[in-house]
Symmetry: D2
Subunit: 343 residues, 4 copies
């Protein structure tokens, strides 16, 4: 059994790691940290864990964490950049679910995250953990930057078009919608049930931190400069992301359905649905799948891609475990084969 | 007191007419029809009406309806086109909340609605009831075609840009989201709480009936041909529409905020919010307002417009009453000044 | 126009007062206070108020408030008890929506609210503002203690039985359920959408502050000692209270339906539904009504009463305005005749 | 691998069986029937099953089903009573998730279910599948009647009190609340999102079909006649049951917490929470657990028990698989060890 640590275990992605890892046959969570809940049993925070974990939260300590084979960081940005380097230097594998190592251009990163990047060398050598694009690099990585939720759904939806070079990359649009759990478990007025339910709104229209991450990923597979308008919205539900993407075809002769099916034919976690399908976020609820459908409305020159994931699973903790499996040489879908919960 | 009739009163728009008209000081609902509920008190269907209406449903009868000053049709498409002409010929004012008279090109209409249009002459002379565009024509109209919900939110958002001629009209995108009440009160699996809550999906991507209606309205204010990609989505909430619109600026020197404020400065029901605002659908819940915000992300050449309404009020019954007020020479906002319900 | 002040206007009951008073023909809100939002327009907090109120929040000041004809206190417990006495002494009418003056036994009050009661004389002379029981006293009152939400729904459901003396008062049970807005607008983890939606739980089982208030009200209409088990629950919705009450009949010959209908036949805001009805909280959503149904399952000796209200209206701000109307000599239902919003 | 059949696979309990069995290591679903969907792949109805099941629905056929080791019936009442006997006679094990074989008194059954019971002999020999009470009998059973959802939550909550003989069994009260999935997947107005969300109501107050089932189970562990008032309510959420139970203690010296902990100390699926806990339905979402808390408010003579389950898992399909495991001699929790999904 591999020993696993979790730093920052009280938030939703930490809890989701615990839920998913509870039934993983080859790993065991041996350490979980939280400064605020030091000494408290994890099941006190999440009663759903009662009977499955004896674990207690402890204050993060590098020597203790260094005993793990792999450590997940589920911390706000700015934390991992300080704590991860020493672990990595001591040979511990790390998957960071936060934003610290996702963007190679740390000057750009600093602009969006409002702080200096203190360990740009590690950002430089971190592997961006989107297995459907970077699988080989992940296999040998010590440090993996787990993608954000919007970036996962959006990149998986647009990459086949850009790789094929059949759309104008300068005028891409991603109109994305997320359940409220994307905002985390912190107490705030805006995500109270009475404020966020029975309503719908856009946010971050002027600029959202996932924009540079998505652009970086898209640029990596495009010869020409990528321009992206990205507008996220808040959906009155707990889990799920739906990204609706619009691009203008430069080649209308391509069979889009075949293109997507071919691109993802060997991907266990990406399901290209039959032509005419309407992916629902709930079909992925609790599961590590991404479902995609592609349209060309009225046979015009616009392509519309619909992509859905569970933001806490394929958009965070599930993908982190997928990366862990790859890094540890385990079957990529181990512990992740359970189905979405419908209804 | 003006006498008002409602044909097809058991659905959500019929119920909403009853709710809103209950406190209107100058009109009285004297007739309400339903074939299936003939003889039943309206309060048996909607207990919220108990104590406010003694009215019973009756089978629709033209002679009886002809005694009304104005009749609302809240019927599925295909019904009003047969029943409205005789009423109109007898001088009764009619506001049709359905789709029968919205589209001037009845050949196009037939294509989208799957049936012949049997009274194209009346479609030709009907006035499209978007008061913020057609107020003068509505004043003298006998027959008003009340706009659809998506078309209301979307036209109010895009018209200022098209009227000013500062965007490329050939590549407009409207990514729209609606609460479930837009699907009506009919029993269907897809709109069950267990199917539609805790999920998000697009629908009608290949083509939705509101597309030709929106295009007709946009084309009317544009010199050049309008091209529109319209993708509606289902939001797990009861009421509300949010339309997110994307256009490419052909003139980036215009002050977009000032443009919108100027366009709607005399409109009681359209609220252009301060720059940087994020309109929430719930701010219009139960009320006849449309709230709009306009953005130019990262100062680029894309304009993003956010427009929210309550689909059952400004998107249906409230706008119908607004039209009624105009047609009857009453103050346009009479009976419609109540505020949105937050939370 | 009567001048109205609101102390503590940023919470849900303050916002609801503003929404309801916006269309009241005889009063005008001239002052609204908030220490934290001093100087901010009220519409910045609640965009639904945009265009209806020019009002800004100000720091509470007794001299300013004393210019009002009536002041609502929508403050956490412990605030009104200090600020109200001077206003009352200067002849200003006050309706306190908080808990400070509801319980006559201020020793008991102190036990449940965890602080000394600093102005017990005012608690003694305050009138408990349940109009259906205390209308005459409210007419002449300067200080009215507006009932809590659970106490309103529960007392209206049990009082007819106790007044008639046909149930065992020692073993009453009230199993009550509330929407999340009852917990207020403060940021807290427990009322986040992700924590409170898609779940149901009891709380306050060991003892809830509304218990002594309900018991006091029930005891007032019963000759024998009242015993009550009260268990509140949290419902994943914004508004609404449903109280399900159980009592054992000591006289099974009484026509329960007739008893309730007779008791409330002159009450505009209490709707005794026909036998066999199932009151839904949504039938009162946004409106000041209480709907009640009474059952005797399987003809046994148990009576079951179902009572629903909107916790923010009849359970708080609507009832406060009802009390205001009575205190100012206005028609009791002025400004409160609008209907519940369905759907 | 044991071969498993499912009769009536299109409803929620059928879908949940498929979801849960997909990862069960010792069984394989080989047949699934649906008259209406004959020939259709199961993943067309539930996209969450895509990639996991190649299975297609077929018309039920006894010879085919007889090849299974065990067949689940997930059919409306009245179906299993006709089809099950022949299978059972041919030695096939059956777990009926419907109501046909739950009640021994088939005259009483007929009264509540509105039809004659056509195979009372099989009702007589069926074993009631509540493992925490009937484990030994289930081991040797060929036909198991899987309990209803309310009966599971309520019996597990009250049985310890009745077995210990410390409450008055004649005046029990169960105030129960269920998510909407308990009403099934049939299209009906009452369970539309627009009708059932943002509202709360009781139903079946005059008498609900689960009442005789619960009474039968309680009577089986009580010496004295059991009287029960049972009021179910509809909660605006998909999954979950919360039963709040009230009883009068005849012996107030008992340590209630210890009593419950002792009763369930060997039960994997029943979690008696620490004193003072407030079980949330979501802690069991998607999982086969029942969580229970017990209270004696204000140290009086009333005991309050709170019991939560997922109505589709421990209240239906999960318990059915638990019974299957027992009947097949497999570890009782095989395939059922996954945790509840929070958030």
């Amino acid at each position: 059994m591999y020993k696993i640590g979790i730093v920052g275990g009280t938030g939703y992605t930490g809890a989701e790691l615990l839920r998913l890892l509870a039934n993983h046959p080859e790993v065991e969570v041996t350490h979980i940290t939280s400064r605020s809940e030091d000494g408290k049993p994890v099941a006190d925070i999440y009663p759903s864990l009662r009977g499955h974990y004896d674990l207690r939260f402890s204050v993060p300590d590098t020597d203790t964490l260094a005993q793990c084979d792999l450590v997940f960081f589920a911390t706000p940005h700015g934390v991992a950049m300080d704590q991860v380097p020493e672990l990595v230097d001591r040979g511990v594998k790390v998957v960071d679910l936060g934003a610290d190592f996702r963007i190679k251009d740390t000057i750009e990163w600093a602009k969006w995250y409002g702080m200096e990047h203190r360990t740009p060398d590690y950002a430089a050598k971190a592997v961006y953990g989107l297995p459907e694009v970077n699988r080989e690099a992940i296999k040998g990585a010590t440090l993996v930057a787990n993608p954000g939720c919007y970036p996962t759904a959006t990149q998986l939806g647009l990459i086949p078009l850009l790789e094929a070079g059949i759309v104008d990359p300068a005028h891409l649009i991603a109109d994305a919608k997320s359940g409220v759990s994307g905002a985390g478990r912190g107490a705030s007025v805006g995500t109270l049930l009475c404020e966020a339910s029975e309503s719908f709104k856009a946010y971050g229209v002027a600029g959202h931190r996932h924009l540079p991450e998505i652009k970086q990923g898209l640029q990596a597979v495009s010869d020409k400069p990528v321009g992206l308008t990205f507008v996220p919205h808040l959906v009155p539900m707990i889990r799920g992301i739906h990204s609706t993407m619009y691009a203008t075809l430069t080649d209308t002769s391509v069979d889009l359905q075949a293109l997507f099916e071919e691109r993802y034919k060997d991907e266990f976690f990406v399901d290209v649905m039959p032509a005419g399908s309407l992916p629902e976020t709930r079909s992925t609820k609790g599961a590590n799948f991404c479902r995609i459908a592609v349209y060309r409305p009225q046979g015009g020159d616009k392509v519309v891609v619909l992509s859905v994931i569970d933001n806490l699973v394929k958009g965070a903790s599930g993908q982190a475990i997928q990366n862990m499996n790859i890094m540890l040489g385990l079957p990529e879908n181990m512990g992740l084969t359970h189905l979405g919960m419908m209804p």
